[in-house]
Symmetry: C2
Subunit: 154 residues, 2 copies
DNA sequence: TATTGTTATACTCTATAACTATA
DNA sequence: TATAGTTATAGAGTATAACAATA
């Protein structure tokens, strides 16, 4: 329900149309918007979903580890995790006096299955045009661009 | 200076790695961040730059036309344009009692040339790996994905 | 001394609503 | 009645700073 993009012009777009970054962003905004809409029935935002998936793949992971992996600041993890715990999707267990290991609860696991199913449909809807080979090649290409550049600082 | 991404994991990323949308977003965030940093010396944000370019390509265009083309709400155009006018980059001329035609001033034009030059360097830095052919193919592919989906409402 | 989790807070983006003046 | 521009404001998302408890 949030469609601010960079495109749609009847006006001359001119210079932008040669820019890969411009098209990349335009598509990314569209995809994120569709993904957010797809997850809305589960009362989850893309960030929530990614946190759940990360915990599912790494049971026992701590808040700050998830934060590092997903690029979310500790300060913002606290309320985010708090909500998921209050919804009974995540269970926490102190593992040392500071850290707490996180795991999915039963309902967290079943919600996670729904997230995966919704995500599959979403990807098929948006990228179903592409053959598996084309999709794989595209991911590899994008990853190549990423890794060549992301020599960014700590 | 704003690096929140979705990646970097030492933790298992697992499911995400098969998702085109995930990689698309990761790269898009990286590219936007680099673009914003590149424009910072000109005291322009990506949005400002896109507005200037749009006016340059469409002299006489009105605020709401630019807004429609770039997906910026009227309400948010007002302060944005106001700043650019106060900086002497844009000139406004009433064309009827409501609308005002916008044009770049002299300094707006020369700043626009700098934007283009910076943008070229930015694209070369991030996408220089790709041949022109690969880049063109990629843009076409992205545009194809966009247009097949963006049957979105007004 | 560094790290984990937390709170408080600020800034930017984006969105809605309501107003004015024109058409 | 609809449109262009404006103002005010609210809500996300993301940032910094500071603190307590622990390592």
């Amino acid at each position: 329900m949030n469609k601010s993009v960079l495109g749609v012009a009847e006006a001359e777009t001119a210079y932008f149309d040669e820019l890969l970054g411009y098209h990349l962003r335009r598509l990314s905004v569209l995809v994120m918007s569709d993904f957010a809409d797809s997850l809305a029935p589960l009362k989850l935002k893309p960030t929530d979903a990614s946190v759940l998936m990360m915990i599912e793949s790494n049971p026992g992971i701590t808040q700050s580890e998830v934060g590092k992996a997903l690029g979310i600041l500790r300060a913002n993890m606290a309320p985010l995790i708090g909500t998921l715990v209050r919804r009974g999707l995540i269970e926490r267990e102190r593992v040392d006096g500071r850290s707490q290991a996180m795991r999915l609860s039963g309902s967290g696991q079943s919600l996670c299955r729904q997230v995966k199913s919704i995500t599959r449909e979403h990807e098929k809807r948006l990228f179903g045009k592409l053959s598996d080979a084309a999709k794989t090649r595209l991911i590899a290409q994008i990853r190549g661009l990423w890794s060549s550049t992301s020599a960014s600082a700590p």
